[in-house]
């Protein structure tokens, strides 16, 4: 039933796919580049030629940001599904992303209204705080006696999404024209404003999250059997929960702050990895990061080339593919087939 017996095959396969996707993404675009031009520009970052500028100032930062956003969302989704003991938890579905988006948009709109210039760190910080607030709230709200109720959690997510939507609507009422454009960008999700400093910032967060969350992989595995099993095998339960809540909120908050809300990556990527290699978090966590990177690179390249020279919002594209995928998951569940996990 599992397609790959060895985790290292998964990493090799996904690494190869990611590399191919990257080459493809760097080739695609409005500005045509022949192979020799392309290869030459790739080795000459500081050339004044249009080819070099297109590659190094537009396509490359955008590609890397797409990889990082996808990796962070895939990793956060996998960790959050472990924390909720349920494969249907997704940062966007349960409202973490919209909480982060609301906090970030509030900073933009209110900052503009009060003529404050938000520094580059303020948006990720606001996104982080919004994400933490929603994650902590949902987790406490839906958990009783160490069990998390999936129905309650998803419905609470619906409520949070609705409330965040109301907040975003209210802010769009208050917003100036320029802030309004920004706001649409946040709610639909896009990587069109990719900058190099965002790449380095998000890379640091990804490294931190990968390090911290893979360190909790064994605790997450044991946690699936019950709260106490973690302690019985000598690991700290509060430390694991704290690590997952803080790093997923930080990762999702930062991802939302550079790309807006992009749903379903956190749901689809871990699920595909579990289908390939099973549910062991030691493999699922890094594997979901790689898988998420592949998914977002492909989706973003399609977003900027399908309707070229116009751009489709990335969030819309992901939802258009992710929605049916989610329905398919529910369909398999209703028909009692294995899906990498059943209701907790």
């Amino acid at each position: 039933m599992r397609k790959l017996a060895q985790p290292r095959w998964l990493f090799a396969l996904l690494g190869m796919v990611l590399l191919l996707c990257a080459v493809w993404a760097l080739r695609q675009g409005v500005y045509p580049l022949s192979w020799p031009q392309w290869a030459q520009a790739l080795w000459a970052p500081h050339d004044a030629t249009p080819a070099s500028q297109v590659l190094w100032e537009l396509r490359l930062p955008r590609l890397l940001l797409a990889m990082l956003v996808g990796a962070v969302l895939g990793l956060s989704g996998a960790a959050m599904q472990g924390l909720f003991r349920n494969p249907l938890a997704d940062p966007a579905l349960i409202g973490v992303s919209s909480g982060a988006a609301l906090a970030s948009v509030a900073v933009i709109v209110l900052g503009a209204a009060w003529s404050l210039e938000p520094g580059p760190w303020l948006l990720p910080l606001a996104g982080f705080l919004g994400g933490v607030a929603v994650t902590a709230f949902i987790y406490r709200f839906a958990s009783r006696y160490g069990r998390t109720h999936i129905g309650v959690m998803l419905l609470a997510g619906v409520a949070i999404n609705a409330m965040a939507g109301a907040g975003l609507g209210l802010l769009s009422y208050l917003a100036s024209d320029q802030a309004l454009r920004q706001l649409t960008y946040w709610t639909l999700g896009s990587l069109s404003q990719a900058q190099w400093f965002q790449v380095s910032g998000l890379a640091l967060i990804l490294i931190g999250a990968l390090w911290a969350l893979t360190g909790q992989a064994r605790a997450l595995n044991l946690f699936l059997m019950g709260d106490r099993v973690v302690t019985h095998l000598g690991l700290s339960l509060p430390r694991m929960k704290r690590s997952v809540v803080v790093w997923t909120a930080l990762g999702v908050g930062a991802a939302v702050s550079v790309s807006g809300v992009i749903g379903f990556v956190g749901l689809v990527a871990p699920h595909l990895v579990r289908l390939l290699v099973g549910p062991d978090h030691r493999v699922v966590l890094p594997g979901s990061a790689l898988m998420g990177a592949c998914l977002v690179v492909v989706a973003d390249t399609l977003a900027r080339t399908l309707a070229a020279p116009a751009e489709l919002p990335l969030g819309i594209l992901m939802a258009a593919f992710g929605g049916p995928f989610f329905l398919w998951l529910l369909w398999r569940h209703l028909n009692g087939q294995d899906w990498g996990g059943r209701d907790a």
């Binding site: 003991r85 699936l224 019950g226 106490r228 019985h232 095998l233 000598g234």
Partner: protein
């Protein structure tokens, strides 16, 4: 030696345990018996270090459990919870291997194979855990707990580190053959690793056959403690279980408790 004196636990304005005294020697097999709600699982929670009692304390070799690190506790004691929910598709081998305290250690694979064999799980090793029957799942959890203590006891220079094992209703869902196999395997583990075993059992006949000592609880109080033939007295049991019963003698020499026919 695992011991406690005068242990009392209050939970939601009710004293679930009152002045319980218990000591378990290395290699000894103790069964906690009593009606539903007598406080058996609460006592086990205290002995595992999960719950800190309001009065009294549990000590291992003279040290209170609260002063042992989580890691040290994991090396010393293994716990089978009453229920375990696992809905993700781990294979049987992966679930049992979660009992390893040092997954990368040289003899880890050896102990894993021993654990699978001891509970008849070799043929099921690749099966997804959620597709197993209730009894098969219980054997997987038992193997995981066995593995933790077996690996934890190995001190390296062929000596063993003593410890204790707590089993909350280890026999649930098991068929007759695997019930006996289970208690025999843990009795052997107790002798080999100098571990005290404390288990909550409902089957008084199984308790009489395998336990060295019984602890009879009723509403948080110890009603009797001692060898099976001393504790399993018809008058006492009828009063505690509020059920007409008879104590016969098993051909093997231990008491056999049966309900009285009307």
């Amino acid at each position: 030696m695992l011991e406690t004196h005068d242990l009392s636990v209050e939970l939601g304005d009710v004293w679930r345990l009152q002045s319980v005294a218990l000591s378990v020697s290395p290699g000894e097999n103790v069964a906690i018996v009593g009606p539903n709600g007598a406080g058996k699982s609460t006592l086990l929670d205290c002995l595992s270090g999960d719950r800190v009692p309001q009065v009294g304390r549990v000590q291992w070799q003279g040290t209170p459990l609260s002063q042992l690190s989580l890691e040290r506790l994991a090396q010393t004691r293994a716990v089978l919870p009453q229920t375990t929910a696992l809905s993700f598709d781990f294979s049987v081998g992966e679930v049992v291997a979660m009992g390893l305290i040092w997954p990368g250690e040289a003899r880890a694979e050896f102990w894993l194979q021993r654990a699978l064999a001891a509970f008849d799980l070799v043929a099921l090793a690749e099966r997804p855990y959620p597709t197993l029957s209730g009894g098969e799942q219980q054997r997987v959890q038992l193997a995981r707990v066995w593995l933790q203590r077996a690996q934890g006891a190995e001190a390296g220079d062929a000596s063993v580190t003593p410890g204790w094992v707590l089993l909350d209703e280890p026999l649930s869902h098991l068929d007759m053959r695997h019930q006996h196999q289970c208690l025999q395997v843990f009795a052997d583990l107790a002798k080999q690793t100098h571990s005290g075993v404390v288990m909550v059992l409902h089957d008084l006949q199984m308790a009489a056959q395998y336990a060295d000592r019984l602890l009879l609880l009723q509403q948080g109080e110890v009603k009797a403690q001692g060898t099976p033939s001393k504790v399993l007295q018809p008058d006492l049991l009828e009063a505690v279980y509020q059920c007409p019963l008879q104590v016969l003698s098993h051909p093997g020499g231990w008491p056999l408790v049966v309900a009285k026919a009307d």
